[in-house]
């Protein structure tokens, strides 16, 4: 790629196709590049393949055809200790949360930082800070399994953000939230983005991207299409 260094891409997908056995074509011929520090949205109908695309980027699934590169690493070739190293740099807020129900909120969030051997004091401080930002400080010691879905959603977001990753993938982060709480979450993401984190948000929620200046990608039955009044563009066309 001859993109100038300043516009180097953190995610580079070239003609990727993902077929779930036996014959569900979840993604077809996807090409996409995301530059460092970008914030963008991924929309599309239910079943269009948003989650699958995020899973390809974080290495949970592998493309059947094509190339997925994250931070310059080809995810098909990556092996050994590089896999956990890369995953520590990606924070994913899962659509199905993936929390441990028998652990407290704080413990669930801390896990993301523990795997990179952060000191216990740093972890404690960060957890409290994030819970305050998401107005959940009173749930610090509540068991994750006892939370409402909206609360669980915020915990999974806090966990994705906790380790200050380079890339945040948020899968339907506001699906269970009221508009006020949605605002809190988006503020958190914007803060992260300002400090340089690349953020990709998959969402149905038109409200959070309609007025934004950011790039919006739309998936339609596994293919990227051009949203009506926007251009799916190379990063060069970004504002």
């Amino acid at each position: 790629m001859d993109t100038p260094p300043a516009k180097k891409s953190i995610v580079e997908i070239v003609r990727a196709t993902k077929i779930y056995t036996p014959d569900v074509v979840a993604l077809e011929d996807i090409s996409l590049s995301i530059t460092y520090g970008e914030m963008l949205f991924l929309t599309g109908m239910s079943g269009a393949g948003k989650t699958t695309l995020l899973k390809l980027i974080c290495g949970m699934e592998h493309p059947d055809k094509g190339l997925v590169e994250v931070a310059g690493k080809d995810l098909n070739r990556i092996k050994g200790v590089e896999i956990p190293q890369l995953r520590q740099q990606i924070g994913m807020a899962y659509q199905d949360f993936k929390l441990l129900p028998d652990r407290t909120v704080a413990q669930n969030i801390a896990m993301a930082m523990e795997v990179s051997y952060q000191s216990i004091r740093t972890i404690k401080k960060r957890v409290i800070e994030l819970l305050q930002k998401l107005r959940m400080e009173h749930k610090h010691d509540a068991l994750a399994g006892k939370l409402s879905r909206g609360e669980q959603q915020r915990v999974t977001i806090a966990r994705a953000v906790a380790n200050s990753p380079k890339l945040i993938l948020a899968d339907e982060p506001t699906g269970n939230l009221d508009s006020k709480t949605t605002r809190l979450v988006m503020e958190l993401f914007e803060q992260c983005n300002i400090s340089g984190t690349t953020i990709l948000i998959a969402t149905h929620d038109e409200g959070i991207y309609k007025k934004s200046e950011n790039r919006v990608l739309e998936l339609h039955s596994g293919r990227l299409v051009q949203p009506a009044d926007r251009t799916i563009s190379t990063p060069n066309n970004m504002p």
């Binding site: 974080c58 949970m60 200790v81 896999i83 956990p84 190293q85 890369l86 995953r87 520590q88 740099q89 990606i90 994913m92 993936k98 441990l100 896990m111 993301a112 523990e114 795997v115 990179s116 051997y117 952060q118 000191s119 216990i120 966990r159 380790n163």
Partner: protein, 295 residues
């Protein structure tokens, strides 16, 4: 520091989840160590006793003719060819007669009417004082009886054979209990670790997604195996030690056990037993993880 506090946190979480099984495993490991080291202790003491008993060990070869000097050196060569010996002593007819005479003391006059050459000449062989020569004694005596001019070979046949039989039996028991130790510890530990892995499957899955390295995920389980080995063997050896002291206290009246002086393991042997248990348990934990953890 950060690394260790994190790993210890993980380990304590593991232990909390499966403490009942962990405890059972710990007991199994200690019991196996106890059984094995019990027999091993008896065995090592038997060997020591055997060495002491071997001090009085000698084979006497009775000869037809008194060997001439040249013949003597040839016999010495033949004997040492078969087995290492401490000493070979030739006894002539006269020596034998004189020895008998001194043994009879005041009653020496019973010999008066006899020909001083009625006692046969003999060779006394003192084998090297170790267990293997004790075990070989029968074959050695058979060999000696084929020497030219030999009439008969004598040694303390009966007790030596009984002793040999006993040590052989003990050796088998030690080997069996050693095998038992290896099997139970590795399998029990592997089994508990498997349970722990299964109990934490969901968590391990998430940890992997969050970017936990193999080391981060495995080390707590390895530490568990290590602790099982360390604590289990220490407990087993402690139990044996107290059993040993108890027997010493209650049975060390005059005579009985005094006959064979009983000693506990040396620090080196204790170290080896503990190290071996740790290796076995950690190995069991490792093999279990390789099988049940999809990393």
């Amino acid at each position: 520091m950060k690394f260790f506090s994190n790993i210890l946190l993980q380990t304590s979480r593991n232990l909390q989840k499966t403490w009942a099984t962990q405890f059972m495993t710990l007991l199994t490991v200690s019991l196996s160590v106890l059984i094995f080291s019990f027999f091993f202790l008896i065995y090592t003491n038997m060997i020591k006793a055997g060495e002491r008993l071997g001090d009085d060990l000698r084979l006497t070869i009775y000869l037809e003719e008194e060997p001439v000097l040249e013949m003597q050196s040839q016999l010495v060569r033949k004997i040492t060819n078969f087995n290492q010996v401490e000493e070979i002593r030739f006894t002539s007819r006269d020596d034998a007669y004189n020895r008998l005479a001194t043994q009879l003391g005041d009653n020496v006059d019973v010999l008066d009417d006899l020909d001083p050459s009625f006692l046969p000449p003999s060779i006394e062989v003192y084998p090297k004082k170790n267990l293997s020569s004790l075990a070989q004694i029968k074959r050695f005596s058979e060999y000696l009886s084929t020497l030219p001019g030999a009439i008969k070979v004598q040694y303390g046949q009966e007790w030596i054979e009984r002793f040999n039989y006993f040590t052989k039996l003990l050796r088998i028991i030690v080997l069996l209990s050693g095998t038992l130790l290896i099997l139970t510890t590795t399998f029990m530990v592997a089994y508990t670790i498997r349970l722990a892995v299964v109990a934490r499957q969901a968590e391990l899955e998430i940890l992997r997604l969050l970017g936990a390295t193999n080391g981060y995920i495995r080390t707590p389980f390895l530490i568990e195996g290590f602790l099982q080995g360390l604590l289990g063997s220490t407990l087993g050896l402690l139990a044996l030690f107290f059993l040993f002291r108890w027997i010493e206290l209650h049975f060390s009246g005059p005579g009985f056990l005094q006959l064979v002086e009983f000693t506990f393991f040396s620090p080196t042997i204790i170290g080896i037993i503990i190290a071996a248990s740790i290796t076995l348990c950690t190995g069991g934990s490792f093999s279990s993880m390789r099988k049940f953890m999809r990393i």
